[in-house]
């Protein structure tokens, strides 16, 4: 209980967004659901690891973006989601 009640408002918002994505993923076909879950989970964990916890402006931007994406995903006509990993392509260039 103690560790939970210490969560800040913005942390709660992030968790609520995550929960919203997982809930919406249930409505899609099983294999799409699995893909959505892994993409969303990877995205959240990646951001949790890499973003400074005090970078509120950026976190709030991501929250807004995530909420918009969630709204789109809730549309029954949208069956799935995919990601482009542009960073991977550019990495060799950055190293040089």
């Amino acid at each position: 209980m103690a560790s939970r009640s210490k969560l800040s408002g913005i942390q709660r918002q992030v968790l609520a967004l995550y929960r919203g994505f997982l809930r919406t993923a249930r409505l899609k076909s099983p294999e799409e659901r699995h893909r959505i879950e892994s993409v969303v989970s990877a995205e959240f964990r990646e951001n949790a690891r890499n973003i400074d916890r005090k970078n509120f402006v950026y976190i709030e931007y991501l929250l807004r973006r995530g909420k918009k994406q969630l709204e789109q995903l809730k549309d029954p006509d949208i069956t799935g989601l995919s990601t482009l990993e542009i960073n991977k392509v550019y990495k060799p260039l950055n190293l040089k």
Binding site: M1, S3, R4, S5, L7, Q11, R12, L15, A16, Y18, R19, L22, R23, R26, L27, S41, F44, R45, A48
Partner: protein, 148 residues
Amino acid sequence: MAAALSAVVSAKLGCPPAAALGSWKGSRISSRNLVSMKTMTARRGLVSLRSPRFRVCCAAKAETVGKVMQIVKQQLALGEEAKLAPESQFTELGADSLDTVEIVMALEEEFGITVEEDNAQSITTIQDAADLIDKLVAGGGGKPPAAA
């Protein structure tokens, strides 16, 4: 009703006009009113005993706890041999807050319940989860998730 009640109350306080009224109508009416007040308070006492708050503190069924443990193991990718206690905190088992959300979602699906946002925040141990699940299942909150 209110007038009759005030008559009874003032009769109890011993005001002369009300006392006269009581003697004039006989004690039957005032005693009936007194009885009806008594039943009202008695019923309120019963309702509060049955209110959901009292059910929260009941220990969850052993099979619920077992099922919860199974799902937690699955979600956190712990081996079958991992020893879990009902008091184990998810954070002690290596779960972060995102894992906890996943655990709660998996439990919702398994038991066909919907956990509200603020309840979901307060689940930190297997016992918490099992208690809440038993409460929701007993409260008729159980709906097949397919309906969602």
